[in-house]
């Protein structure tokens, strides 16, 4: 059975690219806002989360913090995708157990190989 991936981004184009990147190897689920992501994660219990930072309402980091409180998601691997790499939230990321950062424009090939390694 395919592993479940939750893709969170408010930009439709990015969601489509991410979905196409992972579609062969993962079961795709998409959320557009931080709150939607938290709700979906609760029911879904995904194997990997790919999270944007700048989201309407609840931002990506806060969403990850909430997801971490959900039973079964304490150790789920999370990739963060930031619009620009200048925001240094590495220490914060470490606290939240975020395993990787990608800066837009991300390289789909690298993203996929890292994703496969993370859920292996």
């Amino acid at each position: 059975m395919k592993k479940k991936i939750l893709i969170v981004d408010d930009n439709m184009n990015i969601r489509v690219i991410l979905a196409l990147t992972f579609s062969e190897d993962f079961e795709i689920h998409e959320a557009r806002t931080g709150l939607e992501a938290v709700e979906m994660a609760r029911g879904l219990i995904p194997d990997l989360i790919v999270m944007d930072v700048m989201l309407p309402g609840l931002d990506g980091y806060s969403a990850v913090a909430r997801i971490r409180c959900i039973e079964g998601l304490k150790n789920v691997p999370v990739f963060i995708i930031t619009a620009d790499g200048s925001k240094d939230l590495k220490a914060f990321s470490h606290m939240l157990g975020i395993i990787m950062h990608f800066t837009k424009p991300f390289d789909p090939e690298r993203l996929l190989s890292e994703a496969l390694r993370a859920v292996a």
């Binding site: 930009n11 184009n13 990015i14 690219i17 196409l20 990147t21 579609s23 062969e24 619009a83 620009d84 240094d88 837009k104 424009p105 991300f106 390289d107 789909p108 090939e109 996929l112």
Partner: protein, 490 residues
Amino acid sequence: MHSEDRGNLNNAIISTAIAELGVREAEKNLAFIAYFNLARSLLNTTRITDLAEKCICYMNEVLGDKSFVLYIKNNDAATFSVYREMKNGSITNISGFLPDRVLTIKSGDIIWAYTTSESGVPESAVFEYFISFVLEKKLCEFKNSDYPEPEKSGSRTMHLTLSEFIGKTSLPMILGTSSGIVVFVNAHALKILGNLQPERERVCFSEILSMLAENKNGPVNYGDKIYRIKSERIDLNGVEMISVVFEDITEYKRLDDIKTTFISGISHEIRTPLTSLISGMKLLLMGRLGYLTDIQKHFIRNAVKDAGYLLELLDNLIYVGRAASEKKPTLKLRKIRLGEFFGDLENMYLPSMKEKYIEMRINLDADSIVTDEMLLRQVFSNLISNAIKYNTDCGKIEISSRLVNDTVIIEIADTGCGIAPEEKEKIFAKFSRLDNLAHSIAGAGMGLYIVKYNLQLLGGKVELESKVGEGSVFRITLPEEIYEKKDTDC
């Protein structure tokens, strides 16, 4: 001046002096006038300071404190006159060589006052006094109305009292000596200085002048206005003077801010779709969405490359915009191994070097530095990218480092087109490009601006040695280890 005129004048002064001062005081004054006539005849052969000092000394002996020498110089003539404070508080011209009421002052004239400050009167008190007498038209109380105006020699002259002249000058202006003594402040400048230190009862102008001289390079806020301070050294008969002019750049700054906000706002807007464009094209190249022919791959690769260049441009614009907002970033200091650092950069630029068959040599005598890695990376990626861009095919790039007294010197030399001496100054400015190459080589002229800005933040500097046609050497000087100043100190 004819001797007959001088006689008439002296008579006029004598009668005025006796009427105003009484006989005993008048005697003292007239003795001074006789001395002063002699001194003034030496004006063209004697240094103005020597003359003023002699007059002041004499006046102190004869008259006591609180006297001023006022000197007005233009192309036609120089007026040299002495003032004394009278018992009723007014200021009287006691030298007799200034026409009544009306001073003939043209724009460009130098107005200079020498005071008794050296004789023990506190400097600030004297200057405040001098300024107040200039501003409050006390000068007009001088009564020698028969004195003829100076001859006009072709050029148009304006007739203004000193206070009117000051009122009509739109530029706030201060004139002082190089030792920090302020000798002239106009009303506009006084207003600005009032805003500067409103909490102080007495403003010490010499303090302000040295303060202004220190930060003359940057714009300064006074009240709700922003001024650029320009100072200039003037040689006045062997005396070095400093003129300080305040240029109101409030409006310029406002427009510049709008421009910066606009550029950085629009850059962010463009960045978002551009990133999905690049990621999308890379997805195509992966072959996940179907097989691509070689020619299709070739065109998409070129599109990715160009989009990448566009993104780099935008990121530079955003960075420069952030730099202009004057918020200094906090430095993240850590030890950097230069070998690794330049190795990474070399790998990054390997593809574009291959394209032009450029060879890079790295020779590091100093390998360790404590600084902000991201800022340093921006510096050298811009310099290396330029060294490739402006190099000839089969050219060379040499990077070397050495340690000299706690300072790391890194040189990056190329065999490119070189930079002409007259271009050297301006290439570090924002949006500056080499004129002759602006059309043939892509770029927005932000690279070297970022280099200079980042090095300022890192406590370093950049120097350039270059010969047209032979190449350029950019020499970066950085402290081996920088310590951040703590704001809590003051």
